[in-house]
Symmetry: C2
Subunit: 513 residues, 2 copies
């Protein structure tokens, strides 16, 4: 242990997140984001500013997913931000689903207003919708590109911003503008398109487990939770620390609905003409909200090491210029030794923070930003050949003196262990807060009343389910929704808790974001 100089043990009370999770989970979430400099509200209603630390996370998410998409044969392309109203109207369910939240461009210039200021001028002949999703505009290109079965499959992905006007917004979770990727593919047969839908769902699951360290349940959405215009929608559902569900990604089998709307036809091997079968699938900056809520604690952000923009921060400690020179030189060497090492999909990223601020304040700065490892180096550590290591997955005040060489040789192992630990903790939490419930009273108690010391609701329920809108009506007063019908289930005959209808499929129910 170092016994050095600056007050390196963070002064708990002053600097942790206020309120705590148990005091006010929603406000805790906002404060974690604020204290970690991840994002902030902008002057534009419902639109956020993603700050460099938050954007660095998004870049890492992009980097990993982009590689997975390319490894499975997809290519990136870019399609217009605007969709003519007439295109959007082509698929009836689709337009119905998005009409209430469309930003509409109606003019193409500004003119002086009598009395000062400016006003919109030069009205467009046809209003343009700012894309909420791009099935219809990409469909127009597919219709041009695809002539014959030889042109199929077409496997496209787009990284883009989209706009869905939201009245109540929350950073990352629900914003009017958000960043996402949207995959769009066209195939010759229903089977191929369905296989693609499932393949991309598998990729999302893999990404959630291996990179986000979040266990997810893969399943099919019930009829009223489907993407507008889809035949089937599948999702991955995660549990947050307040036991609510968060839909972290979706993959849609669109059948021939959008092919019909856009005229995506192809000549078959036999010389006939058929409509193509299409899919779409996407994840968004919402994943960052999921990360925050799945792992962070009352000290601030906790990041899974495989997605952290920085893995190690080195904190030099010294009192005078002589020490300063020695310590900084040592830090440079340490940094070089760490930086080269491969980890995850890239390399260990190291920062040395030599700003002239109090040691405690500095340590808290990095705790709250979720940097996985903090390494303090003072003159005595140097003499003893050790470094003082603090792990973000342990209490903020805990430090361990580790011999220099051991730390350097073991750093990838420690980060991997932390990654695994986060996943296991999240999985254990979900297991502890999921219950199989085949009885309506028990279901009601699980959500409607305090249960075994838990506040407000119990978490996930796995219950028999019949796909009938009456279920949605019965759930509404409880503010509970059907999350998905897990793919990993064997038929077990039972009765739907809400309609009494016999069924052999079970669904995950939860309060949700």
């Amino acid at each position: 242990m170092t016994t050095d100089t600056a007050p390196a043990k963070p002064a708990k009370r002053a600097s942790a997140i206020s309120p705590t999770r148990s005091e006010d989970y929603a406000e805790w979430y906002q404060q974690v984001i604020k204290e970690a400099d991840l994002a902030e509200n902008s002057p534009v209603r419902g639109c956020m500013v993603i700050r460099p630390w938050g954007y660095g996370l998004w870049e890492n998410i992009q980097h990993v997913l982009d590689r997975m998409f390319k490894d499975t044969g997809h290519q990136n392309a870019y399609f217009p931000l605007f969709i003519p109203l007439s295109f959007f109207e082509k698929e009836a369910e689709h337009v119905e689903g998005f009409a209430k939240e469309c930003a509409v461009v109606t003019h193409r210039r500004l003119e002086a207003k009598p009395g000062g200021g400016l006003m919109p001028a030069a009205e467009l002949e046809e209003p343009l919708i700012v894309r909420p999703t791009s099935e219809t505009i990409i469909g127009a290109s597919f219709a041009k590109w695809i002539r014959s079965y030889r042109d199929l499959p077409v496997l496209i992905n787009q990284w883009a911003n989209v706009v869905r006007w939201e009245m109540r917004t929350r950073l990352f979770l629900r914003t009017s503008e958000f960043l996402w990727q949207e995959g769009h593919t066209a195939h010759a047969t229903a089977e191929e398109a369905h296989a693609e839908t499932m393949r991309m769902l598998d990729i999302y699951e893999h990404f959630a487990h291996e990179y986000m360290a979040i266990p997810v349940i893969k399943g099919e959405k019930c009829s009223w939770e489907r993407f507008p215009g889809a035949v089937n929608t599948y999702s991955i559902e995660a549990m947050m620390q307040d036991r609510r569900a968060l839909q972290a990604g979706t993959s849609h089998f669109l059948g021939q609905n959008f092919a019909r709307a856009s005229g995506i036809r192809f000549q078959t091997k036999e010389g006939g003409e058929e409509l193509a079968w299409t899919t779409s699938w996407g994840v968004s900056t919402r994943l960052i909200g999921a990360l925050i809520m799945a792992h962070s604690d009352d000290d601030g952000l906790v990041l899974p090491p495989r997605l952290a923009p920085r893995h190690v921060v080195i904190l030099p400690i010294y009192r005078n210029d002589t020490d300063r020179e020695r310590v900084l030189q040592y830090c440079r060497r340490l940094s070089e030794e760490l930086r080269g090492q491969p980890f995850g999909d890239g390399r260990i990223e190291v920062e040395t923070d030599d700003r002239d601020i109090r040691g405690g304040e500095k340590a808290w700065y990095h705790v709250k930003r979720g940097v996985p490892l903090r390494v303090e180096v003072g003159p005595r550590d140097l003499d003893a050949g050790v470094v003082s290591v603090s792990r973000r997955d342990r209490p903020a005040g805990e430090r361990r003196a580790v011999p220099h060489a051991e730390f350097v040789a073991g750093v990838v192992g420690v980060l991997s262990e932390m990654q695994r630990g986060l996943y296991e903790r999240a999985l254990a939490f979900r297991s502890a807060n999921t219950r199989e419930i085949a009885d309506r009273d028990e279901f009601q108690a699980w959500y409607g009343a305090p249960d075994e010391g838990r506040e407000a609701h119990g978490g996930f329920a796995l219950s028999p389910f019949a796909d009938d809108p009456a279920v949605a009506d019965a759930l509404a007063p409880l503010k509970v929704t059907v999350r998905c019908l897990p793919l990993a289930q064997t038929p077990r005959p039972a009765r739907c808790l809400f309609t009494g209808r016999p069924t052999d499929r079970w669904a995950i129910f939860a309060k949700a974001y």
Copy 2:
């Protein structure tokens, strides 16, 4: 030389670009884009679809520039797509400059129209401008982030889409929506901000020379060509094969104009309060237009190898199943040997094209897409231990038999030589089409009439220049513009050709895109 099988020598007449450059340069440009599958017009007026081959180019451009920005201390972030009208109005020259080309969002939903169809509904209290550039919205964040000199400099970059409504559009060169990066920085002193402006201009120059293989002239824009609201604007200017200029990147010293508009103030070391000094700088998908027009020929796209999405395409040739197996196995081995090799900022990218189409057609497909090296492999090549190599910078029918090992060992060298060759050719072309002109009649003849067999205009003129709007008026009938005042010049007293005023600064004049 192979004497194999499929008609591997491309049938010139049938497949080259029509028209040629000399027949109709503008139409040739469109056809090169079409035949290379780079992009296409979309159903949305003025917006383009960037197809995978074009987007792959953009990804490579992004990858290289992003690294350069990060290496110079910049961080990426993301700001809203929409700018409230009132923000936009804060800087008078700025809004004046962009008012005529703004897409304006006025409504936030769609409603059923009496008689069928949909119409915009729920009018916004304040119209939102789709960002044409983000100085004002980013300024609002900077004003929040910056409190003290300790917070400076702030060095931010954003990769984003922007919209500037254009009535006459051309793929990549001028589109209503385009993709770009916009750097935005804030500094404590004018000197630092100016140094940043020049540093980024240098990065753009370096990128143009080393990656795009395009020589550029770094210079300052004259007063009427400045970015609206800037104190100084600098650009890099390139010459296309029709001798017109293309502005390929700009860097702006914004003084305190935007800091004043957005309230970006900081406490100085001495305890006073000052406005920050800001810069902005950007390049866009226009660079792809520059690439096409600088290097391509009458056979189609020519790509500088360091930015090509694929460096080598292997074309297997066989007549029967026995040959097929041997040839494909050999191609796989060759591909593996090439693929691992580092080149430019990444590795050699290889594709094997085993589609069942005619050999000539297949070769032309890759010629027109600008793949730097085509390698044909047939059974006799295999037996002889050679591959048949065609370089995109040589005539389409030219092939050379190269021993397998020599080709694998030399591929990086060949690509580097091709990269250098493209630059040198472009530089020689520019030199041959640039003239120092200090006489108005000569200037007029250079632009106004056929000159030495060249059509329409001579290219760049370097002429004495006084910064007076009368110059713009005099140039208008010639359709010539002031491109920039080159930074690399020593004062040479002369008289401005158009105002007769004495000056010691010279400018580059040209017809321009």
